[in-house]
């Protein structure tokens, strides 16, 4: 086996994909080739060193990891509260919707109907008697087929 073939086998061995017979063959090559043996040692050590590195980090944070449920439970509670609270967007979403409706009403109200928009110039006003000391109710009636408008005027 030459070094090029050995290097390919070293990679496959690291992936756990090298058949047993090929591994024996590779091992024989490594015994007589320090360069390939160094390559094999380094590549097969990557996993060990990586696990050792994360093991150190895990030990450092072991107490915090032990208390993880406390943190998670608190986080779940906070998220639950946030879900109950209407979001900023939801709280103010009616404003653009109302503006859009108003614009549409202004633009399209006269269109699609042969009826001219209602602009009261003269008021045929009938003031109703109401049992209230704080408001006056006025009925504006422009005739048949037109909507009756009810004005509620708060007394000063």
């Amino acid at each position: 086996m030459d070094c090029r073939a050995a290097l390919e086998k070293i990679d496959r061995k690291a992936d756990g994909l090298l058949p047993r017979e090929a591994e024996v063959e590779l091992s024989a090559h490594l015994d007589g080739c320090p360069a390939c043996a160094a390559e094999d040692a380094a590549i097969s050590a990557t996993g060990d060193v990586l696990r050792a590195l994360t093991g150190i980090r895990a030990r450092e944070k072991s107490p915090a990891l032990d208390a993880m449920w406390t943190r998670v439970r608190a986080g779940i509670g906070e998220s639950r509260e946030e879900l109950r609270r209407p979001s900023w967007v939801a709280r103010w979403a009616w404003i653009p919707a109302a503006v859009a409706l108003a614009v549409l009403a202004l633009l399209f109200y006269p269109a699609g109907t042969d009826r001219s928009p209602f602009h009261p110039s003269t008021f045929d006003v009938a003031v109703e008697d109401v049992e209230s000391e704080v408001a006056t109710v006025a009925l504006v009636d422009k005739g048949e087929g037109l909507p009756r408008v009810i004005w509620i005027i708060e007394d000063a």
Binding site: A42, D48, L53, K61, W69
Partner: protein, 196 residues
């Protein structure tokens, strides 16, 4: 059955109990996977505090998304997808530069000195060769995030290629090529450190 479930309540049963309102069942589920989750997160972001936040946020997210879990599939594959995405997002957002120093208090007196040719195999051995640990961390940091995720899932968590592919949403072939690339880069850093 997952190996973590042996002798215990299956993951699926804990998920059903959680969905029925039993938070204690979710706590048990979390206890099963928090260690592995931390190892994966810290392998990707390289910082213990960030990794703790990632694990916490991932479990909170999992709690609220649990109703989307498809019974019959692996909980940990499903959960790791959340975890790895959180870790990668965190990595992208953070301008990471500070290395976490090794804590020498973990050094035990009876730890064996490093052999001239052998590489550290345990945390204690690695602590005796701090420069090697730093070199490996730098090599990890230099990897693209999905390559880092692949090698961490494979080498630290021991996941199979097809499971990694499910977690990362890519093909097994992509997993293998990323793994090959990542391993080669880490190997270069180990060799360079040893030879330099």
């Amino acid at each position: 059955m997952n190996e973590r479930e042996k002798g215990g309540v299956p993951d699926d049963a804990l998920i059903r109990a959680t969905l029925a309102g039993d938070d204690g069942a979710f706590a048990e589920l979390m206890e099963r996977y928090k260690g592995r989750a931390f190892a994966v997160a810290v392998g990707i972001v390289g910082n213990g505090d960030d990794a703790l936040d990632i694990v916490q946020d991932s479990f909170i997210k999992a709690y609220y998304k649990l109703k989307e879990f498809r019974f019959g599939s692996n909980f940990y594959t499903w959960f790791y997808r959340l975890l790895v995405n959180q870790a990668i997002d965190r990595w992208r957002k953070s301008a990471r530069s500070a290395e976490v120093p090794f804590d020498e208090s973990w050094l035990s007196e009876d730890a064996s000195p490093p052999d001239a040719f052998a590489y550290p195999r345990t945390p204690e051995d690695l602590l005796r060769d701090r420069e090697l640990g730093d070199a490996l961390q730098r090599a990890l940091d230099a990897l693209p995030e999905y390559h880092r995720a692949v090698i961490v899932l494979r080498e630290v968590d021991g996941m199979a290629y097809d499971e990694i592919a499910k977690v990362l949403g890519c093909s097994v072939g992509t997993v293998m090529s990323r793994l090959h690339y990542a391993r080669a880069k880490l190997k270069e850093s180990l060799k360079a450190h040893r030879e330099g």
